[in-house]
Symmetry: C2
Subunit: 380 residues, 2 copies
């Protein structure tokens, strides 16, 4: 029952460790946890009706999983899931939260009269000690495109340490999806990048004229930095379904009961997509996720709930989708086929962020193969 690791990490001195070293907690706090200590941020998530409805319904339409049971809420934040678990009849709820938000969770628990059931514990899941194993682990751990933030590591850790052999995971399953899209964002970002470079050349001219220093040696690294920022960093967007120009494909399916950290250190998948819109532009790919609350084979949910973050008119979520731009866009039409491969791994310096690669090839309806393209992206 040792402490869990958080994947590949390196400290600023450049030393890299593989899988067994732990992340510096202070750095992790400054880089990641700190935003969750703000009530404004909690409110944003609590105001996401699709998210709230899904968890609310998952719990209250499946009280048999909670009634008289012991529950662990990983990353309780404001305490909402823990409070619902208690209201659904749990005998005991351990609500673990790494940040000072735990204080507020405690107040909320008390104000909602479930303090006899819910015990808020401030600490990281990897370190806390619980007095007993639990029947249910409930957690809202999903980041952009599912795995950004790598919070699922902490849920796996909790499961391996504290879930009874007969226990249930809420959610039980998760899937990563991808689809080809059209979007004006690509043109916008390309313009931003070009403006930035125009301004750079103006700047180098002036610096030479007025200050006698040639900045030309920095043009290449500046262009790379700007290219990464404008063109290679995935964007948050709430896409309209009519921006999806081809069939969506599943990149990865996760069984939350059995997944291991090594399963998710790297996500690699081939995918196929058929273009469904005539005479359009392939401007990039969108990535999103869904999760399901199915219980477990031996004790299934009575009402299976789905939480999806797919492009939607009315049911958008705070997660949006992650957009990976193609520059320049590619003309495609209905019936064209996309043969792609996807890979995602953690950023070496910050395991909470991701590096992505999309390789793709268009086989036109006519049968002609367009040149393949390969692009690298950063989920920041």
């Amino acid at each position: 029952m040792g402490s869990c690791t958080n994947g590949v990490v390196s400290d600023q001195s450049g030393a890299t460790s593989n899988g067994r070293a732990s992340v510096d907690k202070g750095v992790d706090f400054a880089n990641y946890f700190c935003t969750y200590a703000f009530l404004y941020h909690q409110k944003e998530m609590l105001s996401d009706r699709v998210r709230m409805d899904a968890y609310y319904n998952a719990v209250f339409q499946n009280k048999h999983h909670f009634n008289g049971k012991v529950v662990l809420d990983v990353g309780t934040g404001s305490g909402i899931l823990a409070i619902w678990s208690a209201q659904a009849g749990a005998r005991k709820v351990y609500a673990v939260e790494a940040t000072n938000m735990a204080e507020h969770a405690r107040e909320l628990v008390k104000a909602n009269n479930v303090q006899d059931v819910v015990e808020v514990i401030q600490g990281s899941m990897e370190d806390v000690q619980l007095p007993e194993k639990v029947d249910v682990i409930i957690s809202e751990w999903m980041g952009y495109f599912l795995l950004r933030e790598s919070m699922f590591d902490s849920v796996i850790c909790a499961r391996d340490r504290w879930l009874k052999p007969t226990g249930v995971m809420y959610p039980s399953h998760a899937r990563m999806w991808v689809a080809p899209i059209r979007s004006g964002l690509g043109d916008q970002k390309q313009n931003d990048y070009e403006s930035s470079m125009e301004d750079w050349y103006r700047f180098t001219d002036e610096t030479q004229s007025y200050y006698g220093v040639d900045m030309g040696a920095l043009t290449k690294p500046f262009a790379e930095e700007q290219k990464k920022y404008y063109l290679q960093t995935s964007l948050w967007n709430n896409l309209h379904p009519n921006q999806v120009i081809g069939t969506a494909a599943i990149l990865r399916e996760i069984d939350c009961l059995t997944a291991s950290v090594s399963d998710i250190l790297e996500v690699r998948s081939n995918f196929l997509s058929t273009v469904t819109l005539p005479n359009t532009r392939l401007c990039g790919f969108a990535g999103w996720f869904d999760v399901h609350f199915r219980g477990r084979k031996e004790v299934p949910a009575q009402n299976e709930i789905e939480l999806t973050t797919a492009p939607s008119v009315d049911n958008g979520t705070h997660w949006g989708q992650q957009v990976f731009l193609l520059n320049p866009p590619i003309r495609v039409t209905e019936g064209d086929n996309l043969n792609g491969s996807f890979s995602m791994k953690r950023n070496k310096e910050n395991h909470r962020l991701m590096e992505v690669e999309f390789n793709s090839e268009v086989k036109q309806y006519s049968g002609q193969l367009l040149p393949p393209f390969r692009n690298r992206y950063f989920i920041e």
Copy 2:
């Protein structure tokens, strides 16, 4: 010649150390240094003509300080000051930079043919070893309102370790200024705060209706968090001189040759200001700084250069001014006197940020005293 400290700091576990402990480098990097590793950020500073002109003129109009001398550039960034020092005739320049920007500085030094003179050293000033003491320490260390970022600590450390007894500081002096101002920002932020609270009450109603959870226990901490964010956090602004409604006052004068870290851990000062505009509103205070390049008594500058960040029509800088809002504003008129006291100290969790207090009393021209007010602010 021991290592230097960085003032009061505490780590995330809550332990506080006073003056003698060092800051966790990883945390400091994630919180502070990392922005300086971006070329875009360096370009912003290099594009600030007022800043560039001041340092350029300070160096090239005072070549006697540089010619044949040994120079240390603390926080060289892109290397600009080091390159100028070499071009002004320095025998040797040590250019110290904590971030990977040092790599770019090295390229720039080479591309400008001063690699025989300029040696770029990547590391923190507190740790690096130089082969010799130096005649000049040049550094652009000033943050918003002078001391935000607490970089001057590193300059003091450099001076105490490496400056010859006859050495010169560039800049030699620094001053913090304050003045009463008028501004529409106060109304704007008050509206933002009130909207935020309206939205909060809507949110708590909905959360009770739809989800059976009473968020009322969080109203007070949410309001405090929002108040801090909208009303108590100093704002960056480039004020127009006509927004300054009274005489400016000096809060602190620093002699860069003799100042110590304990001198600047806390800045306390009384100040007086007379309102110079008829029938106006005291909406808050603006804080800014200036620095001077005077050389030293024994070897003064031939041409004294000033770099000021006071409100200006044509000569604004990237520093702008720091605005501390008063809510509600106070009606004042020409001849009214402001009797104020100011204090600034470092944030306990992050020594790069500041906490400020303004106490003030208006004595009207008629002689009547308005109720005094006291406000606390955060420089984030």
